[in-house]
């Protein structure tokens, strides 16, 4: 199927991790290439000149940027692995909606709720609660957002499932508790303990160190 490289591989970024999950779900062999954000490689600057960010997937010499766009690309190109997005057009569209909601509302609000201060933090905490309530409703009655198996929304929600509890612990800001969000709490545990996901997540200790210094 051609040569596949992942810029940003072997790192700690949840956005890179999304792509790694998709590649591994489809059984695609790839070469992970570590990137130093303070010293960006010529390959990164060549294949993502607009944003200069990881992840970038390089397939047959052509670069694709933006994690969720890359995951959709992987789903389309490698048809023989398990589907990441549903086949039904309406289900697909709603899947894309929830992934966008997670990116644009949940991640930004929860990150700020943990890492900002004062009024901005208070406002972000409120926004986080509102946003997480919608996710709570969406996961009710389902093992994963994708149903019985991990899908596009579960991949998009990796920050919520794994990174956020670690940041919360380091910064001392509790957002998702079992009492407030029982369904999301249950999903987080299923997700992080899933054998497949577990094997791809970066080490908790390494993440704790990184967030302590932020």
């Amino acid at each position: 199927m051609g040569e596949v490289k992942l810029l940003g591989g072997l790192g700690f970024s949840p956005y890179v991790n999304r792509v790694e999950m998709a590649l591994k779900l489809k059984g695609v062999e790839y070469e992970p290439i570590a990137e130093d954000v303070k010293n960006k490689s010529p390959l990164l600057l060549q294949h993502n000149p607009v944003h200069k960010k990881v992840p970038v997937l390089i397939h047959n010499g052509k670069g694709i940027a933006e994690s969720l766009i890359i995951v959709e690309y992987i789903d389309q190109v490698w048809q023989e692995g398990p589907p990441i997005l549903p086949k039904d057009p309406y289900q697909r569209a709603m899947t894309r909606f929830w992934a966008k909601f997670i990116d644009e509302k949940c991640i930004i609000a929860t990150w700020k709720a943990c890492c900002s201060t004062g009024e901005e933090q208070e406002k972000s905490k409120e926004e986080s609660m509102e946003a997480l309530k919608f996710l709570e409703d969406e996961i009710k009655g389902k093992k994963f957002f994708g149903g019985e198996n991990i899908g596009f929304v579960d991949i998009a929600a990796n920050f919520i499932g794994y990174w956020l509890p670690i940041i919360s612990e380091v910064k001392g800001v509790q957002l998702i508790t079992e009492e407030k969000f029982p369904n999301l709490w249950r999903w987080m545990n299923d997700y992080c303990n899933d054998n497949f996901v577990k094997g791809i997540l970066p080490s908790k200790d390494a993440l704790v160190e990184r967030f302590k210094s932020k």
């Binding site: 940027a65 389309q76 569209a93 909606f97």
Partner: protein, 224 residues
């Protein structure tokens, strides 16, 4: 594909560029639909019911199933009504189109809109950013008839607001973002776009847009 019993409805607001994108998409594909105007400043129970998460327009309702978010609606239209495709079929080209569509929304739109909602240093920076983002789009446009090539595609629809709404914003905010002499590809593309039969007949009147956005600018400046 089962034949729809409940048809297609589009819930929108007359001046929303996000709603216009979907209308154009439907026109390009020849999809019949019922348009329902919503006053976004005085939301009806309908809107809260069909889009409880963000409460925004546009919302497409197909066979009773509601779907918000203009870019997602356009992809849905492409999958259900697959003739006259808006997105390229090739996976790599598709990924590129999605990338530039996101760029149009998150960078071009956001910075241009900020220039309407601000003044002073914030506005100056917004204008500078918008010009920088347009330079990327100018390069991307590359002198073709449309971003989609010979026919209007997904990126054209996402960038469409630049062709007819940005000039109004520039006038309201008293700024220059798209100087035709500096952006010849985009200037030519603008004319191609607004002259296209699927786009032409359906644009809001310039003076109505001016009055509306002038009002919005005043509201935003009061908040600062």
């Amino acid at each position: 594909m089962e034949k729809s019993n409940k048809g297609v409805q589009l819930v929108g607001f007359w001046v929303s560029p996000f709603v216009h994108r979907v209308k154009w998409g439907m026109k390009l594909k020849g999809i019949e639909f019922e348009y329902i105007e919503e006053d976004v400043f005085n939301r009806s129970p309908l809107l809260s019911q069909i889009n409880p998460v963000t409460g925004k327009v546009p919302v497409l309702v197909h066979d009773g199933n509601p779907l918000p978010e203009s870019s997602i609606i356009l992809e849905y239209l492409d999958e259900v009504w697959s003739h006259a495709p808006l997105l390229p079929l090739d996976a790599y080209q598709r990924a590129q189109a999605r990338f530039w569509a996101t760029f149009a929304d998150q960078k071009v739109f956001e910075s241009a809109w900020l220039s309407v909602c601000s003044k002073g240093e914030i506005q100056e920076k917004a204008v500078k950013d918008a010009i920088g983002h347009l330079e990327r789009m100018e390069e991307q446009q590359g002198g073709r008839r449309f971003f989609g090539g010979d026919t209007i595609g997904h990126v054209d629809l996402m960038m469409g607001f630049v062709a007819y709404m940005l000039p109004v914003w520039e006038e309201v905010a008293a700024v220059t973002i798209l100087d035709a002499s500096k952006f010849p590809n985009l200037a030519a593309w603008k004319s191609n776009f607004v002259d296209h039969p699927a786009i032409k007949g359906d644009l809001p009147f310039k003076d109505e847009m001016f009055t509306y956005f002038q009002g919005r600018r005043e509201v935003h400046l009061q908040r600062i």
